[in-house]
């Protein structure tokens, strides 16, 4: 059924056309955003529009990076995202180990609850969180953000970790147990080192979610020195004069960490992702 050379050529051309149209759909908007961040604010909506014009400069980036208040947004975002990632990874390794290697009462129920948490709408939790966080005395603090973000990163991380541990043969840990190693030693010395790809996937995924979070960062922080990058962008939008180029520069800078992480760990990430969310 393999067609003639000519047919293959036609098909190849069609595939390339589709490929390029698709790339325009996903890539051009991003390209336009990056290009616009180098324009002056007056030229953003110039007629006729040009991808790069005479106003090309790094002024917007200089303005963003030279402003300590905005650098603080980045510091906050990094700190919160890293803390969330560490806490989520450790907690999900422990939970995943438990689900993967032990049989216990309520295992099924607890597993269902953890899967179910993914479907709890953040907005539903928003109203009581506000009261709860104030009552706990952690309103406008990093602790509040780290704990609340974990609610949404943890269940997915546990599903991914459990899935990963399930792919590792049990003989491995049993061998260590027979040699007299305790269950924690087995986990730490044997399973964790060989699960590194899975752990990286969980970590990258968690970092991305935490870096991008908006609703809780908006509601559970009050002062500008506690705001994260997404809220910083939101605050810029609320101002009277739209500093488009600075907003775009902040957006580009705010996307870089996730983009870099993604490019570095693509392979792990995609594999872990498909193992965790959707078992085909």
């Amino acid at each position: 059924m393999i067609g003639s050379r000519r047919q293959i050529l036609v098909r190849k051309i069609l595939v390339w056309i589709a490929l390029i149209l698709g790339a325009c759909f996903s890539g051009l908007p991003v390209l336009w955003m990056v290009a616009s961040s180098f324009k002056s604010n007056l030229e953003i909506f110039a007629y006729p529009p040009a991808l790069i014009d005479h106003s090309f400069s790094f002024d917007a980036y200089r303005a963003v990076l030279g402003d300590p208040a905005r650098l603080r947004f980045f510091f906050n975002s990094y700190l919160v995202a890293i803390l969330v990632t560490i806490c989520t990874v450790v907690t999900s390794i422990l939970a995943g180990y438990s689900f993967s290697r032990y049989d216990f009462r309520f295992k099924r129920t607890l597993n269902l609850i953890i899967i179910g948490v993914q479907s709890v709408p953040p907005i539903t939790l928003m109203i009581p969180y506000f009261g709860l966080i104030v009552w706990l005395g952690i309103y406008n603090s990093y602790t509040a953000l780290v704990l609340t973000y974990m609610v949404f990163t943890l269940s997915y991380a546990i599903i991914m970790m459990t899935g990963y541990f399930n792919t590792l043969p049990r003989d491995l840990d049993e061998a260590v147990m027979i040699d007299g190693g305790g269950s924690f030693v087995t986990l730490w010395r044997i399973l964790v080192p060989i699960s590194l790809p899975g752990i990286v996937a969980v970590g990258v995924y968690t970092f991305m979610l935490a870096w991008n979070e908006f609703l809780f960062a908006l509601t559970l922080t009050r002062t500008n020195d506690m705001r994260t990058v997404p809220i910083g962008i939101h605050l810029l939008m609320g101002q009277h004069s739209f500093e488009w180029n600075q907003m775009l520069a902040l957006s580009v800078l705010g996307s870089l960490p996730v983009l870099i992480l993604f490019l570095l760990f693509q392979r792990y990430f995609i594999a872990g992702m498909s193992a965790g969310s959707v078992k085909g």
Binding site: G22, W32, P128, S277, V278
Partner: protein
């Protein structure tokens, strides 16, 4: 180490303790998770539920009054709520359907045998791009492009596709479709990635035997690819549907639910009820309705996951 082990075995009390320890161990490993989820999901959900049954909560100086299901009656018969509900459903169903179509098309394209591995790798990164941007950045990006004086209006006008400049995000007739489009753009890569993994998992023999039986490309797709991807399609669609119902940031930062509530969805409506109008009972009631819808969908999701497990 060896000494203590020898002692363990010799003393029956220690064996019993070891056994009990082994029984409790899995709960021990789960305890951080369970503590966190109890404190930050079970208790809050109970609180919202209780709020939805009373009046005068949080900001009101009067003591709360139990009103039973009155808040639900008020919410469910409210025209604004129904508008928000129908917008949410439109937004979510269209997003899920188009995510599926684009995600699958791109995955099939990237799986084509006619392309070299390097080409695939480059285009895969381009196609995934929308996914690495957070909702607030996507909102900025599309406000830039869809601005009345933006580049999209310029191109469409030059090509005579539209007769005049459109106010995509502030025209009542266009805004809902515009935000749905933005959501489609930002969400399809998740499908694409999952489908790519799924496609690679389909054994080649299936296609071989399909070809031997004389199947053409469409028949192979219809009778082999789609059925093989079925479990992925179901869980993806359900999960995405739940996530889209949750969507807050994108709408909040593009239209804020406007103009004239034409893009008001349940989450923005709840947020406004709570944090602008301070009607916490009503907001809690709407929040419970959203939770109910999501739970309903989640039941199917959990079932599909369990089926995949077995």
């Amino acid at each position: 180490m060896e000494m203590s082990q020898a002692r363990d075995i010799s003393e029956p009390a220690n064996i019993a303790w070891e056994q009990r320890k082994r029984k409790l161990l899995p709960y021990g490993y789960l305890s951080p998770t369970l503590l966190l989820l109890a404190a930050l999901t079970v208790i809050p959900i109970t609180t919202v539920f209780l709020y939805s049954l009373v009046d005068n909560v949080i900001v009101n100086p009067n003591p709360p009054v139990f009103v039973g299901l009155e808040n639900y009656e008020e919410v469910l018969t409210n025209r604004k709520f129904r508008g928000a509900l129908s917008n949410t459903m439109y937004f979510s169903l269209v997003s899920v359907a188009v995510h599926f179509i684009i995600g699958l098309s791109f995955a099939l394209l990237l799986n084509s045998r006619l392309l070299s591995a390097n080409v695939k790798a480059v285009f895969r990164v381009i196609y995934i791009l929308p996914w690495v941007f957070t909702a607030s950045i996507i909102a900025i990006l599309w406000r830039l492009l869809l601005n009345p004086h933006g580049v999209i209006n310029f191109v469409l006008l030059e090509l005579s596709i539209i007769p005049e400049l459109n106010e995509w995000l502030s025209d009542r007739k266009l805004a809902l479709n515009a935000v749905t489009f933005i959501n489609i753009w930002s969400g399809y890569p998740f499908y694409m990635v999952s489908f790519l993994a799924g496609l690679q998992g389909i054994p080649d023999d299936l296609y071989e035997s399909g070809r031997v039986d004389g199947g053409n490309a469409w028949q192979l797709f219809r009778h082999i690819t789609l059925p093989q991807l079925r479990p992925i399609i179901i869980s993806l669609a359900l999960l995405d549907f739940i996530w889209t119902i949750h969507q807050f940031t994108l709408i909040w930062m593009t239209t804020g639910g406007g103009p004239l509530r034409s893009t008001e969805v349940l989450s923005t409506y709840t947020y406004k009820a709570a944090f602008s109008s301070h009607e916490y009972s009503i907001a809690s009631t709407i929040a419970m309705v959203i939770l109910a819808i999501c739970t309903f969908v989640a039941i199917f999701y959990v079932r599909s996951q369990r089926m995949a497990d077995e």
